[in-house]
């Protein structure tokens, strides 16, 4: 069958189940029932601390076929996922489904567990590194389910993704399970990815390298959700957690793109008092923030909030008064962690609050402007951030689809040509985010506005910006690169791309 974007999908996928086809970005904004959680009260001990992970596995009764979850605030410095899976393998437990909010290169040992049947299923918002390559080669038994950040929270709340045991890496935790991410050798800032896991998993286990006397202070994830606490030597490598590598680009083409994107924002008329904004942590995305800041300074504008992954640059904008508040879903560097510690205007948001389409109002719905990336954009403005131009799984939506759907103006910034590949193509190798939610594409060789947004097109033209049609941009790129051959996929579906509402927007097949 084909979904609303014309993507060919099987009706049933082994290891995934029946496919609900994507029907449009806003087709399923109906009611859902939040899952009821079974809670077993325990007054037997004033202390939830266990000796070891092995002991925790026995205590929670983990067995073959269960689903375990992890968060990725420790990013490419996370030790916990590897540590837990090693212990699961040692216990001879098989057929485990891993529901990680994202997978990083550090999680390479997962490939081994996928190969020998310890892990047979995987859910993630984003996958980079060796695990993505292994998935593309068909190493995992069942297809990976790729979710958006908001979509993951929705699926957990609705009971579509049932978590048996949530392992929460906790930079600080007391003996009764109160956690925060602000202190300790592996401080990572907010603990927002595992919020849904904590609230809806059958069993919640905090794994910490900084056990503090009760009560921890402040508390982000609270004791009433936590079953056990396991102290370990180290939960992560701080160099990989808050890498501090997010800097404004020096690349002149990236700067040109950023400047043009800022001009589009100005032309849109959204840049006024109360302006709300999100941008990625990549060099070009940060440069957009820098240009927008200059405009805000000139126009004497104060924004209401900036959201998303928070970097030093956004902290500076908060402190200099360009925004009244930050909504933080993830701290990217130590400056962000420090700001969270001491500035009450630096606020946390769970992924449900951030982007869940089936709650009573997500932050993305209040966003004026979102700056997005892309590895491919097709003629219908559909965006691929999941696979590269060779069809290899190397990314995922994260908040991409959530923010594109919510923001009043979703702007994709990308070079028109990357590593010899044209970025604008007839049809995206994989669709992550539907074109109906993407408003403008800004490249170094011109700007294309989605024909669905005639209002924006008019304003951008009136501002004298270099507008082209997306077809013209494609031709420009192909003049330089030629037309790349289509990727030769095998039949087996290795990843199912779920849109934020849980329908299937596309699948990735084996290479």
């Amino acid at each position: 069958m084909r979904n609303a974007l014309g993507r060919e999908l099987p009706e049933y996928i082994a290891g995934y189940g029946e496919v609900r086809p994507f029907a449009g970005a806003f087709a399923h904004a109906g009611e859902i029932n939040r899952k009821a959680v079974k809670v077993k009260g325990d007054w037997s001990s004033p202390n939830k601390v266990l000796d070891s992970l092995g002991g925790a596995l026995e205590k929670c009764g983990l067995k073959d076929g269960m689903t375990v979850s992890f968060h990725h605030h420790l990013r490419n410095g996370d030790y916990v996922l590897n540590m837990v899976l090693e212990e699961i393998a040692r216990h001879g437990i098989k057929d485990i489904k891993v529901a990680a909010s994202s997978i990083f290169p550090i999680h390479q040992p997962l490939v081994k567990h996928m190969g020998n049947g310890v892990v047979t299923g995987l859910y993630a918002g984003y996958i980079s590194g060796a695990v993505g390559e292994a998935v593309s080669r068909g190493v995992l038994k069942n297809p990976v389910v790729m979710q958006t950040h908001g979509g993951r929270a929705r699926a957990i709340e609705a009971g579509e993704l049932h978590i048996d045991v949530a392992f929460i890496a906790a930079p600080t935790c007391d003996e009764y399970g109160n956690m925060n991410g602000l202190e300790g050798p592996s401080a990572c800032g907010v603990l927002t990815y595992p919020a849904a896991d904590a609230y809806y998993a059958d069993t919640v286990i905090a794994v910490t390298d900084n056990l503090v006397p009760y009560p921890a202070c402040p508390i982000e994830i609270t004791q009433e959700y936590v079953d056990y606490v396991v102290p370990v030597e180290l939960i992560g490598d701080s160099a990989g957690i808050v890498s501090g590598t997010t800097r404004i680009t020096n690349d002149p083409a990236g700067l040109k793109i950023a400047e043009s994107a800022a001009q589009v924002i100005e032309a849109s008329g959204l840049l006024k008092d109360g302006f709300s904004f999100q941008t990625g942590a990549g060099g070009t995305s940060l440069a957009v923030a820098a240009y927008v800041k200059e405009m805000m300074k000139e126009k004497k504008i104060q924004g209401s909030f900036a959201a998303g992954g928070i970097t030093e640059y956004m902290v500076e904008m908060l402190e200099e008064g360009y925004f009244r508040t930050l909504f933080d879903g993830q701290c990217f560097d130590l400056k962000a962690v420090e700001s969270l510690r001491r500035n009450k205007n630096h606020q946390r948001m769970s992924m449900s609050m951030y982007g869940n389409p089936s709650n009573k109002g997500a932050v993305v719905n209040k966003l004026d402007v979102m700056i997005l990336g892309a590895t491919e954009v097709d003629l219908d403005f559909n965006v691929n951030v999941t696979t590269n131009s060779n069809g290899l799984l190397m990314g995922g939506s994260g908040g991409h689809s959530d923010t594109a759907a919510g923001a009043k103006l979703a702007v994709v910034v990308t070079k028109l040509i990357r590593k010899r590949f044209p970025i604008v193509v007839d049809s995206a190798t994989t669709v992550t985010t539907p074109g109906e939610t993407v408003d403008v594409l800004v490249t170094e060789r011109g700007i294309a506005v989605n024909p669905l947004r005639q209002d924006v097109l008019e304003k951008v033209k009136k501002a004298g910006l270099p507008v082209k049609t997306i077809e013209e941009l494609k031709e420009t790129a192909e003049k330089l690169t030629g037309v790349p051959e289509k990727v030769d996929f095998k039949d087996k579906v290795v990843a199912v791309i779920e849109y934020r509402d849980g329908t299937v927007i596309d699948v990735v097949r084996q290479l």
Partner: protein, 292 residues
């Protein structure tokens, strides 16, 4: 003289990505550099790369210039011309230029154009003057070839030879700039200012470019894409200039109808030179995309 050669952006000749992206920043001319930015061991590779890029990619709408190596006392300059002239760049830029060098380059181009069947003198020459003797000989240099489209000042070598430092103030360049402007204006070619070295200092660049423009230079070299916007702005007619030029041209038309040669506008005399300048300002404004 070109109507609009405000910015001339240098691009290292050995960086394929930079060569490919060179036209996206809005520079009026692009100079693919085979000289200072290319190591001796990379000279031949860069030469072939620049030739292929010019041959394969569409740069229409931008003047494409290749800065070759010196043509005297270096084997590379002549090899650069021999390799690249066949793909017909708009111009070559000759570093350390003097009369003899320009004549040798022009002679080579005469032969190549004839052999390839190109229109005679379709490939122009820019001379880069960067020594005291060249600055003093500008009046002769400017007559060395009718292919000359402009002369660029190279202040780094010049100030080094003079044993003085370049300053933000730029007084040390006052004579060279003024002299260059005079000579080029009298020959009807462009006078291009030396690059501004601190790519992070936009204010300094704007000051430096404004100084050059006030002395009569017509454009300025850029050594980083970030400099192009500021240079273009500085060397574009200002809104006031465009409005005044529009008034002058309209008034000239009226006066012609009435049969008057000289007349006054807003209390100032308008004669043929003023009218010609006004027309040029409007042409430049149009090319620069300024509403006229």
């Amino acid at each position: 003289m070109s109507d609009l050669r405000r910015s001339m952006l240098f691009v290292p000749g050995f960086r394929p990505g930079m060569l490919q992206n060179s036209t996206i920043y809005g520079a009026d001319s692009i100079i693919f550099d085979l000289e200072d930015s290319v190591a001796v061991s990379e000279k031949d590779a860069a030469r072939v790369l620049v030739r292929n890029v010019l041959q394969e990619l569409d740069f229409s709408g931008t003047e494409m210039v290749v800065r070759i190596n010196p043509i005297i006392d270096s084997p590379f300059g002549k090899e650069d011309v021999a390799e690249i002239a066949g793909v017909r760049p708009d111009a070559f830029m000759l570093p350390k230029a003097d009369e003899e060098g320009i004549r040798i380059l022009a002679g080579m181009l005469d032969e190549i154009e004839q052999k390839e069947g190109f229109e005679q003198e379709s490939i122009k020459i820019f001379a880069l003057v960067e020594s005291t003797s060249a600055v003093l000989n500008l009046s002769s240099i400017v007559k060395a070839s009718t292919r000359l489209a402009g002369i660029m000042l190279g202040a780094e070598d010049l100030t080094a030879e003079l044993g003085i430092k370049r300053t933000l103030q730029g007084n040390e360049l006052l004579y060279a700039r003024s002299h260059l402007a005079m000579v080029c204006k009298s020959a009807g070619i462009d006078a291009i200012d030396t690059p501004f070295g601190d790519v992070g200092d936009q204010e300094g660049l704007e000051y430096d470019a404004t100084q050059a423009r006030s002395l009569g230079l017509t454009g300025k070299a850029a050594i980083h894409p970030r400099q192009v916007g500021t240079i273009n702005r500085t060397f574009s007619p200002s809104p006031e200039e465009v409005i005044y030029a529009g008034k002058v041209v309209a008034a000239v038309k009226e006066a012609e109808k009435a049969g008057n040669g000289v007349f006054a506008l807003d209390g100032k005399m308008v004669d043929a030179p003023v009218a010609a300048r006004a027309e040029k300002v409007l042409r430049q404004a149009k090319l620069a995309g300024i509403e006229v």
